[in-house]
Homo-oligomer: 407 residues x 2
């Protein structure tokens, strides 16, 4: 029942808990860390939160903020989110919106709802580590969701799932500025996912954690929007959209949401009644106020700051990395994905990086459900200020050059 | 996968979701309701919370309050709780304390950690509805934990569990002022539970939600304290203590804790990483401040107010109920448990109570894992002001008398 053990069966390299331990160890002032995937606290709307908690606790809402709440969530927040989803091309009402304690809880509940042991979850190789951790508790098999490699036809996916002892239940993906690769699916790729899901009659879990963090180019419609368009409405669709306030407002309140067909929301509400009754009343009321007053301005602010940091890290990589090293050019999000020549093990490289160059990253194998990707690594640029970029990336480049020279 | 359906297989009467719907329907000003088991918001320490959130967001802690946090919880709060547990006879340190989003989440995680389908959970008949809901997700069988009735020897319990297709995994109980009966286990009964658990080599889950709400008599040591004494320390014990701030401070922050052997806490931390990362940072920091300044005074305040309400409702029952009706005399907590003569169905009676007398309660069968207890009902007195008691209990007595006369 230790989730780490479960995860370890998928990845022969670093365990999830080891990575979290690593992140704690790396929290030293002289280490330049590109490891932690967290927002820059300097960008939090501190004043808006101060005002919101003071207003919620200082007025007629104080009793409600401190009292039990319905499991589906605070109605004005659900209405605000329904209106927000409509602006993204997903027309819906509050009956389609369910408040979660962060989008991580949404992933856990969806695994609990849909996965029986030996069922198959389709995921990208690599994909968000936290999603694998959440799903692992329900003991699925993973198959690779990708145009190239893995099973390539619906029949082949279904056959592989049956062979594993269950059925394919959903495709999980982060279509915009994915964690860890930074990549974004094209419109055609999104439609192809919906085609595949329709053939297999499975759900699509759209993890939209980074969707608002676009620094260039035109937005691609959410999969949920494309599904609504082809299904005639969300209640007839198969896509479950997982949203988060963590990257735009603040993660410390643990506030996320699921926007889904009503039949799914109703099941999730019963699940939440049994699991933790409801997300904290006070945080739902406070974030509703902050969303109303500050969401749009916050999106602009984080886009500008993170966008400039992305530009800087990409320029520094260009200057510092030897030939043979490749990396993604994300149009948004928080991460650049670096691929070193085959044969270099980034878990080993990390030990050298910390010891010799005082610079850190996350080795890429952890994000692969099958433990592959040993020559890859993830760089987060959300906390990468000028010093980090101008000193850290050249150090990393020097190390990679040296490691390549040893081979 | 609908939990309500699972629950319904245990109870032939009202479903858990129906009871929650009922509670919403009963929220009308002219209905005197003894149904909802919620604290009186007039007793919340409003000013302490206002000050705590203002301090947390106004000073050097603001960034940490809005940022991600470790899964085990905010260290100063865990230290405060370790000291608090020591005052209850459970010497421990922060490594034994795990922060949960309400004690309900603790129950859910413990079910997830320990129960495989067809395993057996030992529970009282009746017991806390929310515990049954939490455990039902993991598809256990229930056996009756009671001196009278059910299996009476460890061997008989083990045999019944094997026959059901699994193993007995834990005994769950609310030893102080139980929901729904208001009853408290004696020292001898607590020791007997530990003896049984030792024979079966299973865990004991001590749900201490109401423990601080004692209005008369001497405290009985927590089962965790008795277990520490016989085991030589918490890390060698088998008891898992689930605590809650909901009844003393406020439920809207969803703040509870588990105090347990370190080996259990470590597994729960991994589970929480995967399930929701951590409980909200800001609420952990705020409730730590309120606990430091106001916990002891709040205990005194709620004891005085609820104690007086308990006295009033017991006196009113004495005056209003016909011979043949029995009820518990709780030394604390929130509930009085009423047993009507055999043959009266309290679910049917509730319909008459609302329609004819505008008074409400929760029918007792919902709290029985086997759907029995149809002639029982639960009265909550936490919101029972003078009008409720002086008008509501006589109305209920009149109805019961009439129902008994019809038979």
């Amino acid at each position: 029942m230790t989730l780490t053990d479960l995860f370890a069966t998928r990845s022969s390299r670093m365990k999830a808990s080891e990575i979290r331990e690593l992140l704690k160890l790396l929290d030293q002032p002289d280490i330049i860390s590109f490891a932690g995937g967290i927002p820059d606290p300097a960008l939090f709307p501190h004043e808006a939160f101060r005002q919101a908690y003071a207003d919620v606790l200082g007025g007629a809402q104080a009793d409600a903020a401190l009292q039990y709440q319905v499991s589906e969530g605070y109605l004005p927040l659900r209405r605000w989110l329904a209106a927000h989803m409509a602006t993204l091309g997903v027309p819906c009402d509050e009956g389609n919106v369910f408040i979660t304690s962060g989008s991580q809880q949404g992933l856990d509940y969806l695994g609990k709802l849909m996965l029986s042991p030996a069922d198959t979850a389709l995921v990208a190789w690599p994909t968000y580590l936290g999603a694998l951790q959440a799903f692992n508790a329900y003991e699925p098999t993973y198959d690779r969701l990708a145009p190239e490699g893995g099973n390539t036809t619906p029949a082949a996916y279904a056959e592989a799932a049956a062979k594993a002892g269950g059925r394919a239940k959903f495709a999980y993906l982060v279509p915009d500025f994915a964690n860890p690769t930074g990549e974004t699916l094209t419109l055609a790729q999104r439609e192809a996912v919906l085609d595949l899901a329709a053939e297999l009659d499975i759900a699509v879990i759209e993890d939209a954690a980074y969707q608002a963090l676009r620094y260039e180019g035109d937005p691609v419609p959410p999969i949920a929007a494309l599904d609504c368009a082809r299904s005639g409405g969300l209640d007839a669709a198969r896509t479950i959209y997982c949203g988060s306030f963590s990257k735009i407002l603040a993660p410390g309140l643990r506030m996320g949401w699921i926007c889904a067909p009503r039949r799914i929301v109703e099941k999730l509400v019963l699940m939440k009644q049994a699991a933790d009754l409801h997300s904290p009343s006070i945080n739902q009321m406070a974030i509703h106020r902050v969303a109303e007053t500050s969401y749009a301005a916050q999106v602009e602010k984080v886009r500008q700051v993170y966008g400039a940091r992305r530009d800087a890290i990409l320029a520094a990589l260009e200057a510092a990395m030897p030939a043979g090293v490749e990396w993604s050019r994300p149009q948004g999000g928080m991460f650049v994905w670096v691929t070193l020549p085959e044969g270099i093990d980034t878990a080993t490289l990390l030990a050298r990086a910390v010891a010799e160059e005082r610079v850190a990253f996350v080795p890429g194998s952890a994000f692969h459900a099958d433990g592959s990707g040993r020559n890859t690594l993830r760089l987060s640029f959300t906390l990468a200020d000028e010093r980090a970029v101008t000193q850290g990336i050249p150090r990393l480049g020097r190390l990679v050059r040296d490691e390549m020279g040893r081979r």
